[in-house]
């Protein structure tokens, strides 16, 4: 024992006298970035994977979008002087142009000649074909591959790739700009032992190199100086993962971080008043709805569902729960989705109408039902309690059953939950994708068992309709039918809230809620 202590002391003495190199002995030699070149961002969690075809959470998606390019991307537009995405207009990225066949069942993409992966290899037709194979074989993005209707991907020559579809499909071009459809240097992946390597490494052609990623603490990205496109203005982005929202807010106020996500609505007011902090709060396409199981009594009667829709205290939810960081929802499709229609939507907070509808449905005394509340989101809790109080006024007893989120997701899948609230963000900002999953009879996420021939037929016709105006007319008809039949009571549309220091320019709001760091610059 004594001997170890002596040895330790000796080692320490040796080390202190300068025999051992330590991590900070030349801490000033690392090039200090000037302030305008570095951004520190605060996220709530660290993500799960860097594999583009497996990412499905905002943090993971953010790194994928930074490190990879896609064949095509979304256009940008201005909205009241602020940049935002225009998701129904697709513009070139790695593909400089493309041609569709006369019957819209095959597309030929011509690749840019100057695009290179981050370690110098050119982006070739082979890489595109192999990337699509990777997506097809993945767990997470394979269903998007199916939804895009891709039959096969073939190399025409070094610069051209042909993609055949099973049928004309208007979702195809809208799915391609997604992070899932990133073009990967699959040869490099093969050299490193296969697709598993992509979970923690990147092989892209994108504007940033991911230099560090530890999901429990922080990640760092550095500008890709040989990027083929517009050079990113920020040389370095450090992302800190901070679970506690109040810490994110305090760090932003003190200027330790330049940008923070997931700021709770109650903190938005105090941040607005803080010096040098800007809040960008704009509608995304994330919605929240109160779903009633259309196969379980009494919700099999549309009049009962309409009555519930008239009993929701809409203003209280928007103002008291969300503190104004949300907007009214007037269709099953978000208002920022191209093709949105609120035809047939008549619901306001009107308890007399609600009582009358219940009486018509033969339930003048009201009824009692089970409501399942999933954990994980503060606002759901508050919403449920407020709705419960309103329903009590019309004689309806809502029994709230709380459940942990994993259990909640499992319960929904049985399609036997009587009533619940849940949020939803459609990855593809299109009514076809949205309604197809949620409200058609075959929809895999139609946990409320809504089944309506009018909606199903309109959706099927629209799926293969190449003309945009005709398609939107069909989707409009479907939305009108849904609004009248009220399988859900619509609660609100969430705003995407990004808080940042003054002097940060270029932030563009995308419906997927992902910050594209290569668009940002710091002027102060």
């Amino acid at each position: 024992m004594k001997r170890t202590v002596l040895a330790l002391a000796a080692a320490t003495a040796l080390a202190v006298s300068g025999c051992a190199a330590n991590a900070n002995s030349n801490s000033n030699s690392s090039a200090k970035e000037d302030a305008g070149d570095t951004l520190v961002a605060a996220y709530s969690e660290g993500g799960k994977t860097l594999d583009p075809a497996e990412a499905n959470d905002v943090t993971s998606d953010t790194f994928v979008v930074a490190a990879y390019d896609q064949l095509v991307t979304y256009a940008r537009t201005e909205d009241g002087g602020k940049p935002k995405a225009k998701t129904d207009q697709i513009v070139p990225m790695l593909a400089e142009s493309w041609k569709a066949s006369a019957n819209n069942t095959s597309y030929t993409f011509k690749l840019r000649a100057d695009a290179k992966f981050q370690d110098g290899a050119p982006v070739t037709a082979d890489a595109v074909v192999k990337s699509f194979d990777h997506i097809k074989a993945s767990s997470s993005a394979s269903f998007l591959y199916k939804m895009a209707g891709i039959a096969k991907v073939t190399k025409v020559d070094e610069q051209n790739v042909k993609i055949d579809l099973t049928a004309p499909n208007h979702l195809f071009l809208q799915i391609l700009p997604m992070y899932s459809f990133s073009i990967i240097d699959m040869d490099k992946v093969a050299q490193n032992g296969g697709a598993k390597w992509l979970a923690t490494n990147t092989a892209g052609s994108g504007p940033y190199k991911i230099t560090k990623w530890d999901p429990s603490t922080e990640a760092a990205m550095a500008r890709n100086d040989s990027y083929w496109g517009d050079k990113p203005k920020l040389g370095q982005v450090n992302v800190k993962f901070i679970a506690e929202a109040s810490n994110r807010v305090q760090l932003l106020k003190k200027g330790e971080v330049g940008l923070a996500l997931e700021v709770p609505p109650k903190d938005v007011q105090s941040l607005k008043a803080a010096d040098g902090v800007m809040i960008d709060s704009r509608a995304g396409n994330k919605i929240l709805f109160f779903a009633m199981n259309n196969k379980i009594k009494p919700f099999d009667d549309p009049r009962v569902r309409q009555a519930v829709s008239y009993a929701i205290p809409y203003d209280k939810l928007l103002n008291d729960v969300m503190k104004g960081q949300a907007s009214p929802m007037k269709s099953s499709v978000a208002s920022s989705t191209p093709g949105f229609s609120d035809a047939g939507y008549t619901y306001t907070h009107d308890l007399d109408k609600a009582r009358a509808l219940l009486a018509q449905a033969g339930l003048p005394q009201g009824f009692s039902f089970d409501f399942t509340l999933g954990s994980g989101f503060d606002d759901w809790n508050d919403d449920a309690v407020l709705i419960q109080a309103e329903l009590a006024k019309i004689g309806v007893k809502m029994n709230i059953k709380k459940m942990a989120r994993p259990q909640f997701l499992e319960a929904l899948e049985t399609k036997k939950v009587q009533a619940y609230i849940t949020r939803w963000t459609s990855f593809v900002n299109d009514p076809g994708y949205h309604l197809g999953l949620l409200l058609t009879s075959q929809g895999s996420s139609n946990y409320a068992n809504f089944s309506d021939p009018v909606v199903d037929k309109a959706w099927q016709q629209a799926a293969t309709e190449p003309d945009l105006a005709k398609r939107n007319k069909l989707y409009g008809a479907a939305q009108q039918e849904i609004n009248v039949k009220a399988p859900w009571a619509y609660l609100y549309e969430y705003n995407i809230v990004v808080a940042h220091r003054a002097g940060l320019d270029g932030y563009t709001s995308y419906p997927d809620g992902i910050v594209r760091f290569f668009q940002l610059s710091v002027t102060k």
Partner: protein
């Protein structure tokens, strides 16, 4: 040495029991890990594919056998929600938690033992009453609230504490890794810069975490001392004319020591558990916050591994306590 071997052998059945229990527990908990991982937009076929990848489609007893054979090969499994093996996640996070718990324990001992001794020697005087009030407050203080208050007051308002962001300040390199404990590593490599930064970062969460333990150690020390002070040999020592300080520290405290050592060992286990909350509040990159995330994501492997590690830590702490007590009191060694 014999004692050590005997004790380690006795631990094995306990460990196997713990492993089987936690395995069964995680499997009967509601919630499908594959669905949680896939998200709510994924097609059922995708969920089924993930379930196969995870090996959850096999019968329970097969899964258990595979888990044991993996354990014997030193494989703790794969953490689906971080995309790393559990072993690598633990390697990067466990030292942070151990360091936090150790620093908190040192603080609790340095504050708790003197407090207990003073309370015992000045029984029913104002000092003793003050100690009792402090202990009551300390033991009943909600850690979560205390942590948030410390951040608001000492970081936000006064600016004494560094930003609650990990183990060293932005722009300072962590010390060269030897033990993974930043304070120890920076001393070993003579890295003054890293040592100061690491100390300023660890001291606040450690103080919060130590509050409850300080209170408990103070109370236990007090009662142990009171029991000893009433004994004949202490009276003899006093009547022999020894200085009160010598009597208290040499005779009384020496005999009260086994109790203090035992409670410290138990407290170390408690501190590892308390770290869960402290780590979340202070964004401390340790095992506690990681396990909370794993539970929320119904990720079995990290939860099982954590239980295993916790059991090992607890048993090891008990062993250390027994060994130290055997040195302190020869009668225990023979028992």
């Amino acid at each position: 040495m014999n004692l050590v071997l005997r004790r380690v052998a006795a631990m094995l059945p306990a460990l196997i029991g713990v492993v089987v229990c936690i395995f069964v527990l995680t499997r009967v908990l509601p919630g499908d890990p594959a669905r949680t991982l896939a998200g709510d937009q994924a097609d059922p076929s995708v969920v089924a594919k993930i379930r196969t990848d995870m090996g959850l489609d096999r019968p329970l007893h097969i899964q258990l056998v595979r888990y044991f054979s993996d354990l014997l090969h030193g494989n703790l499994g794969f953490a689906w929600h971080t995309g790393h093996s559990v072993a690598s996640d633990f390697a990067s996070r466990l030292p942070a938690t151990v360091e936090l718990a150790l620093v908190a324990l040192v603080i609790a001992l340095l504050a708790g033992v003197p407090l207990g001794v003073i309370s015992a020697t000045r029984r029913d005087r104002p000092v003793d009453h003050a100690g009792r009030v402090f202990s009551l407050l300390g033991a009943s203080m909600p850690l979560f609230w205390l942590g948030l208050m410390v951040i608001v007051v000492f970081y936000n308002k006064l600016g004494w504490a560094p930003a609650p962001l990990g183990r060293v300040a932005e722009g300072i390199n962590p010390p060269t890794g030897i033990t993974g404990l930043y304070l120890v590593d920076s001393l070993l490599t003579g890295d003054v810069v890293a040592f100061r930064s690491a100390l300023s970062h660890i001291i606040w969460p450690a103080l919060c975490l130590a509050t409850g333990s300080t209170a408990i150690i103070a109370r236990m020390t007090r009662s142990a001392m009171l029991e000893v002070i009433g004994q004949d040999y202490v009276r003899t020592a006093v009547s022999k004319g020894l200085k009160p300080s010598v009597v208290t520290l040499k005779h009384a405290l020496r005999n009260a020591a086994p109790v203090i050592v035992t409670i410290s060992g138990l407290q170390f286990g408690q501190l590892m558990g308390g770290a869960v909350i402290t780590e979340t509040v202070f964004t401390w990159p340790g095992i506690g916050s990681y396990v909370v995330q794993s539970v929320l994501a119904t990720d079995y492997a990290p939860v099982q591994a954590f239980t295993l590690v916790a059991a090992v830590v607890y048993l090891a702490a008990n062993l250390v306590v027994d060994l130290v007590n055997a040195r302190l009191d020869p009668r225990i060694a023979d028992a």
